[in-house]
């Protein structure tokens, strides 16, 4: 559904952000696009959305080239950006003038999501807080029913109950034909929503695995003994260690996203080798 081949891109000619980047994202999955600040997550989403043009390489989203920005291409995804500005109009007017551009938009679903976020559908968009505006955009993006939904740091600005509601709503909105990409550096916020992890570091995809595969190969546990040769990465917590270890005994453990992310960044070759 999204295929990137040999992507080269840089904001400056002599400084490349992406060099021969390859990535394939399939429908029916929720991808967590993780990376540190400045790793290129937003730029990658912009490339897929046709907001930035590659220096070379191919990008296809639903068999369309983003650079052409054709109406069919633009209607096939919705992007919830990290930073946004809303017009000084009411929410109802916003729906009236924006929804007709998305053939799959379902107004009932929009109001359902709004009520789940405990938001009133009345009033002007400009009178809402940043977090509330974000909830409106998330609700709109989900109700647009586009085959691809891309969100950039969607939990930024959301309070704790809203983050929890976000996870619940996203999980309920997943369906076979849809592809969700959630780009974030707050990895804990997307625990329980995603089913695949893509890690971007220095403009390269350094990890791209399903959580099923991660659970199969790795185990997340609290250990005291550091001598275990299966320990790939550890973090000290008081008298114990939170560790990522080789799953040699086919144990089942809950994937600790923060630990997984840190292990991929710090001990990249060790962790990646487990998947070869």
């Amino acid at each position: 559904m999204i295929e990137i081949k040999n992507l080269n891109f840089g904001y400056k000619k002599n400084k490349k952000l992406f060099s021969e980047l390859n990535l394939k994202l399939e429908k029916g999955k929720v991808y967590g696009l993780l990376g540190k600040n400045g790793s290129g997550k937003t730029s990658l989403l912009k490339q897929a959305a046709g907001l930035l043009y590659p220096n070379s390489g191919d990008i296809m989203l639903n068999d369309e080239t983003p650079k052409k920005r054709s109406p069919r291409f633009l209607a096939s995804y919705y992007l919830i950006p990290e930073e946004f500005e809303t017009p000084g109009i009411s929410m109802k007017t916003f729906i009236k003038i924006t929804a007709p551009f998305y053939p799959g938009f379902n107004e009932d679903e929009f109001y359902k999501y709004l009520s789940e976020f405990k938001l009133e559908p009345n009033g002007k968009l400009n009178n809402l807080s940043y977090g509330q505006k974000k909830m409106v955009l998330i609700s709109f993006g989900l109700a647009a029913n586009t085959p691809v939904l891309m969100s950039d740091e969607p939990t930024n600005g959301l309070d704790i109950p809203s983050k929890s509601m976000f996870r619940k709503i996203m999980a309920s909105a997943v369906s076979e034909g849809k592809l969700f990409i959630i780009s974030t550096h707050q990895v804990k916020d997307i625990e329980g929503i995603i089913d695949s992890v893509v890690v971007l570091e220095n403009g390269k995809i350094i990890f791209n695995q399903s959580l099923e595969s991660v659970s199969e190969k790795l185990c997340f546990k609290t250990i005291k003994n550091l001598d275990d040769e299966n320990v790939l990465y550890r973090e000290k917590h008081l008298n114990t260690y939170e560790a990522v270890v080789r799953n040699t005994n086919e144990e089942h453990s809950r994937v600790n996203m923060e630990l997984l992310f840190n292990s991929i960044i710090v001990e990249n070759s060790k962790v990646v080798n487990e998947f070869i």
Binding site: A49, G50, Y77, I97
Partner: protein, 256 residues
């Protein structure tokens, strides 16, 4: 998704509706400023001889061009910030549709709204002026002033539209500044060319060139001369299409 056409009149109308809703306040403020200025001018003129009350067509054309350039300079308001640009560029409509919708709004759309408001204003001026024996005329849309005014507006407006698509910050100011600089450059260029063709020009029947400026004479058939007809043709028939093309390409190639 498969039934989404690459070009749709309906989407252009939707884009126009969206822009109108989002910018209604700005347009009304602009028009209120222009009509407010007219009212102040008419008030003081009425205290004197009141001759301006009988020249409503002049007010119409001047107001149309001034507020029209203001509106056109404010076109593509969704390209003013990074955040708005992202939202605008990802809206499912082609660059051509987005361009056409802005062009129609700032030409035909603006002309209709301005004319309707002006007629109402004209009528109000008539009602106020009559008891004071001030002669008030009504604008006639078939008047050559109005038709030529609209023609010049469409031509020059294309430059402001291109400016609005090019400059992110203060497009109105930067467009006027760029036109001013371009004007100086063109003047210098024409002067250089004139000097280069001095002998030809002196011998031709177009202009009796005297470079001391004492005997500058334009011949009667100047209008038919190539050196006059060519720039005129360029101005009347090529300015608008060229700047429309520039606007469209700017929009199409826009990245954020």
């Amino acid at each position: 998704m498969d039934n989404i056409q690459s070009f749709s009149i309906k989407r252009i109308l939707l884009l126009m509706q969206k822009t109108a809703y989002e910018n209604a306040k700005l347009v009304l403020i602009g028009l209120a400023t222009v009509f407010g200025f007219f009212s102040v001018f008419l008030f003081f003129n009425g205290l004197n001889d009141g001759d301006a009350w009988g020249k409503m067509h002049t007010f119409y054309v001047v107001g149309f061009i001034v507020s029209g350039f203001f509106i056109s300079g404010m076109a593509f308001t969704n390209l003013r910030t990074k955040e708005k640009t992202m939202s605008y560029l990802t809206l499912p409509a082609s660059s051509l549709e987005k361009f056409i919708s802005e062009l129609l709004l700032t030409t035909v759309g603006f002309a209709v709204i301005y004319t309707v408001i002006f007629y109402i204003y004209n009528f109000a001026v008539y009602l106020i002026g009559t008891p004071f024996n001030l002669e008030v005329n009504f604008i006639d849309l078939s008047d050559h002033w109005v038709i030529e005014g609209f023609m010049y507006y469409v031509i020059l407006q294309s430059i402001f539209l291109a400016g609005a698509a090019t400059f992110r910050k203060a497009p109105l100011f930067f467009t006027i500044f760029t036109v001013f600089i371009a004007g100086i450059v063109i003047m210098i260029f024409v002067m250089i060319i004139s000097l280069g063709f001095k002998e030809y020009l002196e011998s031709s029947d177009i202009v009796n060139f005297q470079f001391d400026g004492s005997d500058y004479d334009i011949e009667a058939d100047i209008e038919n001369h190539f050196l006059v007809r060519f720039p005129k043709f360029m101005f009347y028939y090529l300015t608008a299409p060229i700047f429309w093309l520039v606007t469209y390409l700017k929009l199409k190639e826009k990245e954020v």
